[in-house]
Symmetry: C2
Subunit: 219 residues, 2 copies
C-alpha cells in the first residue's frame, strides 16, 4: 500500500504527471512539424520521433492509474510551464525541430532521471527504464551533422538556437520546481545536492554541453 | 530471390507503398486533430490513435528496404489519391475525427487485406499480421456511442458524415486501382472476383455497414 499523505507520494505523482504531459506535448509539437518536412523520408523520420514520445506516456499513465491517480489530474500543473517552453521555442524549420527534439528531450530526460533516482522502487526503476528506451532521438544527431556539413553558417545558427533552448528549459525547470513544493522538497532532500536545484541545474548544463558536441555544435 | 520483373513483385511494391503512405498520412491528420481535443484525456487518446498508425509503417517500410525498394519510391504514387481523400474529408470536430479514424481505417484495412490475400508468403502473412495489430481504433467505438447517447441529433449528423467518408474512400480506391496497373491486375486475377474491383468494393461496403452498426449509426 502507498501512503498517499506523504511528501514522497506527492512528489511521485508530480514526477509521473510531469513526464506524461512532457511527452504528450512533445508528441503534438513534433507531429505538427512532420507535416513541414522537406520530403517523405524526413516526414517519416519526424513522425516516428513524435510517436516515440508516447511510449513513456503509456507506461507512466498506466502506473498513475494503478496508484489510483487520474493521469489528467497529475498532468494539470505542468500544462502551463511546458506549453510556455514550447511556445517560446517554436522551430523555424525542420532542422531546428530536430535539434529541439534532441536537445530539449535530453535536458528533460536528465531532469526526470535525477528526480527518479530519489524515488523508491518500483517507480525509480520504472521511470529509469522508460527513459532509457527513448533512443530514437539519437537518429537526429546524424541528420543534424550532415546538414551542418552541407551548409555554411548553419552550424553557428543552430548553436544559437540550442543556447536559446537550454535557456528556456532552465527557466521552466526552475518554474516547475518553485510551483510544485513536493518535487522541490524531494530535490532539496538529496544527499548529493546540498544546494538542491542549483546543483541539479549545473549538472543538466554539463550534460547539455556533451550533447552539443555530439551534434557538432559549439557551446 | 525475388523476381523483380514480375507483375506480382510490382503489385507487392504497390501494396506496401500504399499501406506505408496511408499510415503516414493518417498519422499526420490524427496527430494534428489531437491538438483540438476538448481535454487532456481525449488529447491523449487521439495522440495514441495517431501513433498506432506508425507501427504498420515501420514494419512494412523495413520490408521494402529488404526488397531493395526505397520506401519513398513505393509511397510516391499514392500521395495524390490519399491526400485527396483526406483533403475532402476534413473532420469538423473531435468526434468526426474519431469516426473517420474508425470508419476510414476500417475500409482501408479491408482493402489492404483483400489484396494481401492474393500475395505469396512471407508478405501475405506480414501484411495480415500488421493489420491485425491495429486494434486501438476499437477504442473509438465506445467514445462515439457515448457521444451519440448524450446529444440529440448527433447520431444522424455522424451517420451522414460516415456516408461521405465511405463515398470518398470508394472513389479513391477506384482511382488507386486505375492508376496502378499491377495492383489492378492482381485484383482482377483473383479466383473469387471474376468482376475484380467491383466485387471487392461490394465487400468493402458490406464490412463498412457492420462497422456503422458497431458505432450505433444507421446506414
Amino acid at each position: 500500500m502507498n501512503d498517499v499523505s506523504t511528501p514522497q507520494f506527492a512528489a511521485l505523482k508530480d514526477l509521473l504527471g510531469l513526464i506524461c504531459y512532457g511527452q504528450l506535448a512533445a508528441f503534438g509539437r513534433l507531429a505538427a512539424q512532420s507535416a513541414d518536412a522537406p520530403d517523405l523520408a524526413r516526414r517519416a523520420l519526424m513522425s516516428q520521433l513524435a510517436a516515440a514520445e508516447l511510449a513513456p506516456y503509456r507506461r507512466l499513465a498506466k502506473r498513475l492509474v494503478e496508484l489510483e491517480i487520474t493521469p489528467e489530474d497529475a498532468m494539470a500543473p505542468f500544462v502551463a510551464p511546458l506549453d510556455a517552453y514550447h511556445d517560446s521555442t517554436r522551430p523555424a524549420d525542420w532542422l531546428e525541430a530536430l535539434v529541439k527534439a534532441y536537445i530539449g528531450d535530453g535536458i528533460a530526460d536528465d531532469f526526470y532521471r535525477e528526480i527518479a533516482n530519489l524515488l523508491d522502487d518500483p517507480d525509480r526503476s520504472l521511470v529509469l527504464e522508460v527513459l532509457h528506451e527513448r533512443a530514437l532521438a539519437e537518429f537526429a544527431v546524424e541528420h543534424v551533422r550532415d546538414a551542418i556539413a552541407a551548409e555554411d553558417g548553419r552550424g553557428d545558427q543552430l548553436a544559437l538556437w540550442a543556447r536559446r533552448l537550454v535557456g528556456e528549459a532552465v527557466t521552466q525547470t526552475q518554474r516547475v520546481a518553485e510551483k510544485n513544493p513536493a518535487l522541490a522538497g524531494l530535490i532539496a532532500s538529496a544527499d548529493n545536492a546540498p544546494n538542491g536545484l542549483g546543483e541539479l541545474i549545473k549538472r543538466l548544463v554539463t550534460s547539455h554541453t556533451a550533447r552539443m558536441r555530439a551534434l557538432g555544435l559549439s557551446n
